[in-house]
């Protein structure tokens, strides 16, 4: 066949043409906050599970409320994205087993009680002032170590589900080659974990936890790099649309942002800084964690935007 030289279409639907741009800032922000909260829930759950909650300054007491706020902000962003807002309740009159978004909606319904239960372990003073009754409830929760274990485990599990779901939401879209990888949920989960570790590190009061989080974050960053390599290898050994999708990030229009903000400033440099810090070559500062967090946010933006840009388009033009 001759080279395709001209392709014209009369279609001109808003946010669909000349390329898909339906999802704007709200979705990446939601995905990022969801991933961050997921990571924080896993960390908090792990701390509880591993008995760290016996330390009174354990991060597991500050994480759940922050998560609650972030998650609500994320959901608000998602709500802002809806074009038919008055109908949002329709999400909860049905469960669509094949729809990741339906799963997500219901997971969120479970996440809130888990976070609240976590909060109940040690409500802040201002909460107690507002609702004195909370002390009673909190007492009840703390009476049973069994409850505490459940809280830890449920936060970890729901955190995993939440984190994975943010990736599955996109990877289920076979329509956009860039999202079309079964590793996307791993990427988002690890990235969420690393951002959460970095974030918790920023406010952790417990020295040992801080150190642990920094080390864990280094681990997450290494895994994240590895997942990236796997994803790209997968794409590059696949069909044209997938190769071209990978090229969008590697060499194409999204490459500068990708290499500089996601890989460079978001993973490699903070990894080096934190490696030096955990080996006590330099002091811990907020710089590396902030870079990781920003990197995580940029990652969501770039994946959503480049993903929408990627297309099956060429598949029948050989």
């Amino acid at each position: 066949m001759n080279e395709l030289l001209e392709l014209t279409t009369t279609r001109n639907n808003p946010h669909v043409d000349p390329f898909m741009a339906m999802w704007e800032w709200q979705i990446p922000v939601y995905l990022f906050l969801g991933g961050l909260v997921a990571g924080m829930m896993i960390i908090s759950g792990y701390f509880i599970f591993s008995g760290r909650h016996k330390e009174s300054n354990c991060a597991c007491f500050s994480i759940p409320f922050i998560s609650l706020v972030f998650l609500s902000l994320g959901m608000f962003a998602l709500f802002l994205d809806l074009a038919h807002k008055p109908y949002v309740w329709r999400l909860y009159t049905t469960f669509q087993i094949k729809s990741p978004m339906s799963w997500g909606a219901w997971i969120l319904i479970l996440v809130y009680p888990a976070l609240i239960a976590n909060i109940m372990m040690k409500p802040s003073l201002w909460m107690l002032r507002l609702y004195p009754k909370l002390s009673l409830w909190s007492g009840k929760v703390n009476q049973h170590p069994f409850f505490i274990k459940i809280i830890g485990i449920s936060n970890m599990i729901l955190g995993m589900m939440l984190g994975a779901y943010t990736g599955v939401l996109l990877s289920s879209m076979g329509s956009r080659p860039l999202w079309n990888t079964s590793l996307l949920w791993v990427l988002f989960l690890v990235s969420g974990l690393s951002a959460a570790a970095a974030f918790v590190h920023l406010f952790a009061k417990n020295k040992a936890e801080s150190e642990l989080l920094a080390k864990a974050d280094n681990g997450f960053l290494v895994v994240e790099l590895f997942v990236f390599v796997m994803i790209f290898l997968g794409f590059l050994s696949s069909a044209r649309p997938h190769i071209e999708a990978a090229q969008l990030l590697l060499t194409g229009p999204y490459a500068p942002t990708f290499w500089v903000f996601v890989i460079g400033l978001g993973i490699v440099i903070p990894l080096i800084i934190q490696l030096l810090a955990v080996n006590h070559k330099i002091r811990h500062t907020a710089i590396a964690p902030i870079m990781v967090i920003v990197g995580g946010l940029v990652l969501r933006f770039i994946i959503v935007s480049a993903g929408q840009y990627s297309h099956w388009f060429n598949a029948h033009f050989h």
Partner: protein, 731 residues
């Protein structure tokens, strides 16, 4: 090329910023005005016929709860077979057009300044009648001229004849199909007519010489063309641009613009020299064949190659291809043929090629049309008329049938052979339709009265003294349509919805104005229904039935020679004139000869133009439905050429023509689908009427760049493909 750069090629023919003014929204505003009286509930389906172009397809209008919903073709209609073309389907947009004229206007300041006083109909008619009476008194009635395009002008034609002027014209002759009709009439003694008598459907070989069917959406032709494609007709397309039709062709001949005559002569020489013509037909019907044959036989394909750039082997092959399928080979006569000023001769060459193939009067060639004959209304006789003004001293000896519009314009400028002081303009946008806008404006400045009847504030309306707002076709009755066709039929245009404001139909205007002019007795009918009823009754039909059916067919007749149809060659010899003594006597070439036309100087490109399927000339750009599909025209530039000039698809550039006229910015479309010595755009854009807000200066106007034109010495047609443009980058 990777996917991204490919995606960049995605050309979106629409503005990226979306104006989400739903059509539904538009309908609401219009409906409000009419809400005072109660609307019929439920669905009404009312037949009428289309006016988005002059083909006049039968339609069915769907009106739901009193609101106009959609238009479909009338299945009874032989022209459309129940399927309208995209413009016809989008016709409701004419009703909803936000830029419509709402009330009569009289000019406040200088001509062309677009400052108006809204007046009542009575005031408008008084003003016009007063001026017309003055003109009649001072210069005689013949100092009024009527420019009228379309069937809606019939009652104004009647009015002007009653008033006493013989001067009436339309841009559909000297700017459109005039040369073709003259070329065919000189050869066969009859014109091709509209709708064209081409039997495309049954043709086994179809030759399209710049007829871009599929972009040119004349409904029947496109429908028949697609049927021919389905039946694997052999299609030969000759066009400097790879048209839509070219993509369906077996042979695409990328001819150098302006050299078609060379190709035609070479084709004829092959057919004559190889004795491939229909010998029996030529012997029986031909006149002067020997002289013709000896003359054309010199034009070898090799000679033609030098002129046209077309491979001589392909010329031979295509000539034989045509001969193989004769007489079911149709060399399409084209329609808009005013290209280079020798167009009547080129059309005659096409007629002669068809004559060789024996296709005139034959199935798959040119059928013999007939119409449902319906007597005219019995009007009183018109006053005696003066000589017309368009063709003094018979300068253009074969300007027959219709008058030369530019001739009337010329007389208006010079005052010779006698002055023209009033223009009455109906349904034609002379600034877009006539070549050389400055001459048109110069003529307008000489007028004592200029009246424009239009539906929107068009470019020509800008220059008027009085603008009369007409109801769109969906809101009015017009005269009956009984076009000559394969079947005899009569179609009715009737109102399907009320006019939203103070717009009025043409018949009402003509009658009222006649009364003001003291010519009321020329309009003896009470209203148009009475007029139509009278005409229909005299043909044994009833208005009520026609209103219900939309179309009534007449008894059928044979349309091919082989089926026993009668043919008459109304030429001096009574035969097909291969050699034309008429032409010889007038000092012209009795057998067509090749004229070399000037080529663009270095750095310049020939400006070509044509149709987009969803637009009609300059009259649909403000129709929101159609505009949505094709909001602005683009400049087709060969991709290699574009690369050399560093311009790419989507860039906006201006064009400068050989006379220094600079166009509005137009988007580039770099494409492999055109030669490097020409550029192409869709006609009708770049309009300069500020009141036509939706389309003001959108895209570029080819008409503005057509400052040069070459007048056909036989009939006064204005060849307009003779302008050269260069790119002005700084935009």
């Amino acid at each position: 090329m990777n996917s991204i750069s490919r995606r960049r090629f995605l050309k979106i023919s629409g503005a990226t910023v979306v104006t989400a003014a739903a059509l539904a929204g538009a309908s609401k505003t219009v409906v409000k005005a009419a809400e005072s009286y109660s609307k019929p509930k439920g669905l009404q389906i009312i037949p009428s016929y289309c006016d988005l172009c002059f083909w006049k397809c039968g339609l069915l209008a769907y009106v739901k709860d009193g609101e106009l919903w959609k238009l479909e073709g009338n299945p009874k209609d032989p022209l459309s077979n129940g399927r309208l073309c995209p413009r016809g389907t989008g016709g409701i947009g004419a009703y909803f057009d936000k830029d419509r004229l709402k009330s009569p206007l009289i000019r406040k300041n200088l001509r062309g300044e677009e400052k108006w006083i809204e007046v009542t109909w009575d005031e408008a008619f008084n003003y016009i009648a007063d001026k017309m009476n003055k003109i009649k008194g001072q210069y005689g009635p013949e100092a009024m001229a009527l420019f009228s395009h379309g069937i809606g002008g019939n009652f104004f034609k009647h009015l002007m004849r009653a008033y006493g002027t013989p001067n009436e014209t339309a841009p559909s002759f000297a700017q459109c199909r005039g040369p073709r009709e003259v070329g065919f009439e000189l050869t066969f003694g009859d014109i091709v007519g509209s709708p064209e008598r081409t039997d495309i459907e049954n043709a086994k070989c179809i030759v399209l010489i710049g007829s871009h069917l599929g972009e040119n959406m004349h409904n029947t032709q496109v429908q028949e063309f697609s049927r021919a494609v389905e039946k694997h007709a052999s299609i030969i397309v000759v066009d400097p641009r790879f048209s839509v039709a070219a993509s369906k062709a077996k042979y695409y001949l990328p001819i150098k613009p302006g050299t078609d005559m060379a190709l035609l002569l070479a084709w004829m020489s092959v057919i004559v020299n190889e004795k491939l013509y229909d010998v029996e037909y030529v012997n029986k019907h031909g006149f002067g064949f020997e002289k013709f044959a000896s003359e054309v036989s010199h034009y070898t394909p090799e000679w033609a190659y030098v002129e046209t750039g077309i491979d001589p082997d392909i010329i031979r092959e295509t000539a034989r291809e045509m001969a193989r399928y004769k007489p079911a080979t149709l060399v399409h006569p084209g329609r808009h043929v005013t290209w280079y000023g020798d167009d009547a001769q080129r059309s005659r060459a096409i007629a002669l090629l068809n004559a060789l193939l024996g296709s005139w009067g034959r199935k798959g060639g040119f059928y013999i049309p007939y119409s449902f004959s319906i007597p005219k209304y019995p009007y009183p006789p018109y006053p005696e008329e003066k000589e017309t003004v368009h063709n003094p001293d018979n300068k253009y000896p074969f300007a027959t049938g219709e008058q030369i519009s530019t001739g009337i314009r010329e007389a208006t400028i010079t005052g010779k052979p006698y002055p023209i002081k009033g223009w009455f303009i109906y349904g034609t946008n002379l600034l877009q339709a006539l070549p050389n806008q400055s001459e048109t404006i110069k003529a307008i400045q000489n007028l004592d009265l200029m009246v424009v009847v239009d539906v929107v504030p068009s470019e020509i309306a800008c220059w008027a003294d009085v603008v009369l707002p007409e109801s769109v076709y969906l809101e009015r009755y017009d005269d009956l349509n009984a076009s000559p066709f394969k079947e005899g039929f009569v179609g009715i245009r009737q109102p399907v919805i009320d006019s939203p404001n103070d717009q009025k139909p043409n018949w009402w205007m003509a009658k009222k104005l006649a009364e003001k002019l003291g010519l009321g007795h020329y309009f003896p009918w009470k209203d148009i229904e009475e007029y139509l009823d009278t005409r229909l009754k005299s043909a044994g039909l009833s208005l009520d039935e026609l209103k219900k059916e939309g179309i009534i067919k007449g008894p059928s007749k044979p349309i091919y020679l082989e089926d026993g149809a009668e043919i008459e060659f109304a030429t001096p010899s009574g035969k097909i004139e291969f050699y034309s003594t008429q032409l010889e006597q007038s000092g012209s070439d009795p057998v067509p000869k090749y004229t070399k036309h000037p080529e663009p100087p270095a750095g310049y490109f020939r400006l070509l133009f044509g149709r987009a399927p969803v637009h009609t000339f300059s009259k649909t750009q403000s129709n929101a439905l159609l505009r949505d599909l094709f909001p602005e025209n683009e400049l087709w530039v060969n991709s290699d050429l574009a690369q050399r000039y560093g311009i790419k698809t989507g860039d906006k550039i201006k064009l400068k023509n050989q006379d220094g006229v600079i166009s509005d910015p137009i988007k580039v479309r770099a494409t492999e689908r055109i030669r490097q010595d020409c550029v192409y755009m869709v006609h009708g854009f770049g309009q300069k009427s500020r009141q036509l807000r939706s389309t003001y200066k959108v895209g570029a106007s080819d008409a503005e760049l057509v400052t040069q034109y070459k007048t056909d010495p036989l009939m006064g047609g204005t060849g307009m493909n003779v302008n050269f443009v260069t790119f002005e980058m700084e935009v």
